[in-house]
Amino acid sequence: MSEVATTKRVIPDRLGTKTSRMLASWEVLLFGVAALIFIFNSFASPYFLNAWNLSDATFNFTEKAMIAFAMALLVIAGEIDLSVAAIIALASTAMGAAAQMGIGTPGLVMIGIGTGLLCGAFNGLLVAGLRLPSIVVTIGTMSLFRGISYIVLGDQAYGKYPESFAYFGQGYVAWVFSFEFVLFIGLAIAFAILLHATNFGRQVYVIGNNEFAARFSGIPVERVKFILFLLTGLMAGVAAVCLTSRLGSTRPSIAQGWELEVVTMVVLGGVSILGGAGTIAGVVIAAFVMGLVTFGLGLLNVPGIVMSIFVGLLLIITIAVPIIARRIKEMNR
């Protein structure tokens, strides 16, 4: 026993980055999957390996990925927001209504983002302020936000957006790099810094791992959660600007079912649905994986609703595989 007592024990600040552990990490695994899909797709369809086609393919996921970054933070903190797609619908409807009144592009963008922020603040107030469970609250607000769009629009649609508004969803910054793609990369970097290199990011992890301990360490849990909902609303607003600009019209059914795809992207990216773990890099790769899968299936003429089967399977399998792997490891022990 004395031997143990005399041995110097060190608790490392971070786990050692052995090559083997790095190779087994979720991000590397996912990257391998992405590469495989890429290779498979280039054999499956002669149209796949073309810079412009690939550039078009990025539109499949850039808007969803923007929301997924903020959602990743929210899920890491142990909460969830199922109302994001409905926020897009409401923000898009608000922009559409403003466009009919002749408001110019800068005003429209501000209205879109402002609506997103307002919706996020509403969710945040209910979850963080009144301490209600986020799943039910956001199921309710999902119905409320999209419901308002239905009240405003009914079976109508808004069109007639100003020409300069089209840039956000259809413009290119340079060569094949669209505005959306560049924005996606910029936001990925910003969120990676926020989550991995700031105090705030650390607090998000702590809340997700042990909210009780977080409170005792003086972390303003409610304020952090409120900010996270605000951020998610903001990103939904930004996505609404891009999507509305890309489609050039607004129907109340816009972005229907996106909340599922965003959550799938986050979970596929290795973020634990129970909170406390995950990286932005994982979400970025997951976005590419999902974009490549749907683009590849599209080139093979698979209808959208069948693709959604793949998305659903992907969601369940990616969560099930690590759990099964852990079980097998425990059994062998």
Binding site: G140, M142, S143, R146, I151, E211, V221, G257, S308, I309
Partner: protein, 329 residues
């Protein structure tokens, strides 16, 4: 007064009565027995689904795949009826319940054996089941003229003044009451949601209980699928899209705690009727049917706020939960 306000069932009965009275000042026939029976009949399917949803929620889970299950099973039943008109209806109903229970069992298995959070499992199976409905039908419709008369007419046949559809709902309500309050499974469902740790020490298999709850919810969705297809006389991929939210809303309004372990059959039924009365009243008082979605949204949010208040003083907390709100206060 305070105790009276805390009894969700009585409160809901009063609110529904006030609503009906209020609407009947605008539309005189609204409170007539015939119209009320109509509203009940119209709400029957929601009641049946809400009872399945309630059982799942009691065990601290949620089933978002009920409507997709209904769409797939309904399509399967309608296509079978169209292809083999000679099959007896009883066999079709057994088939519907069987397919529904099987889809529910898939959810339950993933939750039980792999311990994946129920919301993730059912979000995934929601898209898978509806996608399968598309694969099964090839995107086609099964219309009324392809269905046999008995398939279409039996749920509408009046017996003792109410259509059979309403009677089925009444039987299911009584059955759910019996199962949840008089059988060991009901006890286990309340216990495994109310206090999972204590339930384990009491010898209750939580995983198995959740599995059974999902199977029950799936079976009721299967039964509802036949009722839905027969009532609206059409089957296509998008039937009952988004209806899972209505079932959750009915439960939340009925005072069933989303955290599990709290709720009554009467609550779920009254929550469904509350939504049913609003849905039937909107056209009567001249509000666009498009407003219904927003109204359910507001009602869900209000009900959640209200539930949280009611549950706060439910009992003395001896062992604090790790996320107990008292800590920061």
């Amino acid at each position: 007064m305070n105790r009276f306000l805390k009894n969700r069932e009585i409160l809901l009965v009063v609110i529904i009565a006030i609503m009906v009275a209020g609407f009947s000042t605008r539309a005189p026939g609204f409170a007539s027995p015939g119209n009320l029976a109509n509203i009940f009949n119209d709400t029957s399917i929601l009641i049946i689904l809400a009872l399945g949803q309630m059982t799942v929620i009691l065990t601290k889970s949620i089933d978002l795949s009920v409507a997709a299950n209904l769409a797939f099973t309904g399509m399967a039943v309608a296509m079978t009826n169209a292809a083999y008109p000679d099959l007896p209806l009883a066999l079709l109903i057994v088939m519907a319940i069987g397919i529904g229970a099987f889809l529910g069992a898939i959810n339950g298995f993933l939750v039980w054996a792999l311990q994946i959070p129920p919301i993730v499992v059912t979000l995934g199976t929601l898209t898978i089941y509806r996608g399968m409905a598309f694969v099964l039908s090839g995107g086609g419709w099964v219309n009324a003229h392809q269905m046999t008369p008995s398939f279409l007419n039996i749920p509408r046949t009046p017996v003792l003044g109410l259509p059979i559809l309403s009677w089925i709902a009444i039987v299911i309500v009584l059955g759910a009451w019996f199962v949840l309050t008089r059988l060991p499974f009901g006890r286990a469902a309340y216990a495994s949601g109310g206090n999972p740790t204590a339930a384990v020490y009491a010898g209750i298999d939580i995983g198995w209980t959740r599995f059974l709850a999902f199977v029950l919810s799936g079976a009721l969705a299967g039964l509802s699928s036949y009722l839905w297809v027969s009532r609206y006389a059409v089957a296509y991929v998008d039937i009952a899209a988004g209806f899972e939210l209505d079932t959750v809303a009915a439960c939340v309004i009925g005072g069933i705690s989303i955290a599990g372990g709290i709720g009554s059959v009467a609550g779920a039924v009254l929550g469904s009727l509350f939504l049913g009365v609003i849905k039937n009243a909107l056209p009567v008082i001249g509000i666009s049917p498009f407003a219904q979605m927003a109204i359910s949204g507001i009602v869900i949010v209000l009900a959640v706020v209200f539930n949280a208040r009611a549950e706060k003083k439910a009992g003395r907390i001896i062992l604090r939960d790790r996320a107990a709100p008292e800590v920061s206060a």
